[in-house]
């Protein structure tokens, strides 16, 4: 699938045709870091000073690259279609090669960022467990209750939350087998058919 670029987008990207491949490489790096972390105003300023152009031109070029990378990733554009997409920009070959190289190496990560950027709930991150035996409490002496303490870490965006839960052996076995059922359900013909065809 080819991504059609609008006029404004083309204009923003056209700046990249006027600089060397090394500069484009640096711009791609800034764009990728922008998506992974946050905008780096310093990088814009130092690039604009070095190249002797306005900070806005640099910002437009970087944002143009980000828009290009996210649109390409959203449509899962192939390497061949990428060449066709970039054709109207009439970029020097080494510049489009750099863009292609960055897109191919970073698209998996951009996909995962975009997957989590939309409506998303807290995801499982890590689980630690500990086995204890409760031997007495203020209200009950002479007991031997095996307790499994679980520390469940969940991740929502960049924020990791952890909570401590506990369970007993019977419920632990039940929990494990129920979640195993969930995993095995994926192998059933119904699930496989839906996953394959949709």
């Amino acid at each position: 699938m080819i991504v059609a670029l609008n006029e404004e987008h083309k204009q923003h990207l056209s700046f990249l045709s006027s600089v060397s491949a090394d500069v484009v490489r640096e711009f791609c790096q800034i764009a990728v870091e922008f998506m992974k972390k946050e905008p780096n105003q310093k990088a814009y300023n130092s690039a604009s000073q070095k190249l002797g152009v306005e900070a806005d031109t640099v910002r437009h070029a970087v944002e143009g690259l980000i828009h290009l990378f996210t649109s390409l990733t959203a449509q899962m554009v192939s390497e061949q279609d990428l060449t066709t997409t970039l054709l109207p920009l009439a970029m020097p070959e080494e510049v489009s090669e750099v863009i292609k190289e960055y897109y191919l190496s970073e698209s998996a990560e951009i996909r995962s960022i975009l997957t989590h950027m939309s409506v998303d709930v807290a995801h499982y991150h890590d689980l630690q467990w500990r086995l204890d035996v409760k031997v007495a409490s203020r209200t009950l002496r002479q007991q031997t209750d095996p307790i499994i303490t679980l520390k469940l870490k969940t991740k929502n965006g960049d924020e990791i939350q952890s909570q401590v839960l506990q369970t007993d052996p019977v419920n632990l076995l039940h929990l494990t087998s129920t979640l195993e059922d969930a995993l095995n359900e994926l192998k059933t013909p119904h699930c496989r058919r839906i996953l394959r065809n949709l």
């Binding site: 959203a74 807290a122 689980l127 203020r138 499994i148 469940l152 076995l173």
Partner: protein
């Protein structure tokens, strides 16, 4: 097992036929235990025309004895000794011991659930969704597991902990839980 002077006094009242007649005693023993386990199921306190102050003192003492006996898991001999000290007849000791043995497990479970502990997982619900696309990506196409851990806490009642997993995350979670199960089974066999 140590009982306070108030409880000892109450037990002496409960053992005394002059204050608490036999029929009322049987009812009071049942009530004293059931009110601990199923407070909502119990009706008004049986008094059968006896002195309200005596009934109140006897009932409080009997309930306390049920709890203390369960807390220390004492055997029937020690229980009989305690009751004999409060001048209980053999019949009355028999009635109390029978009720205690029948309900000991429930009382100990109740006492075990009191205290400060993290939410206890008692069940789990799951559903699988096929994540097709979102506003940023035209094609995601991954299975997504939504897991709902049901937990209980003594003072907070039931709560649930919700989390989502993709296939790899759920495999990791199940793998770790399986490890815990294996360790538990090995420990049980060794000890």
């Amino acid at each position: 097992m140590e009982l306070s002077p108030e409880v000892s006094r109450g037990l002496q009242l409960a053992g005394d036929t002059a204050h608490i007649p036999d029929k009322l005693y049987t009812k009071l023993v049942s009530y004293a235990c059931d009110v601990l386990l199923e407070p909502s199921q119990c009706g008004p306190v049986p008094d059968a025309g006896a002195d309200a102050g005596c009934v109140k003192g006897a009932l409080a003492a009997l309930s306390t004895l049920f709890l203390e006996a369960a807390k220390h898991d004492i055997n029937t001999d020690s229980l009989s000794h305690t009751l004999e000290d409060s001048k209980f007849s053999n019949d009355r000791i028999e009635i109390f011991s029978k009720k205690f043995l029948a309900k000991k497990h429930g009382l100990r479970a109740l006492l075990s659930s009191i205290g400060n502990f993290p939410p206890h997982i008692v069940d789990v619900d799951w559903r699988i969704q096929h994540y097709i696309k979102n506003d940023c990506l035209n094609r995601v196409c991954q299975p997504l597991f939504l897991i709902d851990l049901k937990t209980e806490k003594s003072d907070a009642g039931e709560q649930s902990v919700q989390l989502a997993c993709n296939q790899e995350e759920l495999q990791d979670l199940v793998g770790k839980l399986r490890d815990a199960c294996k360790t538990l089974q090995r420990t049980a066999q060794e000890s």
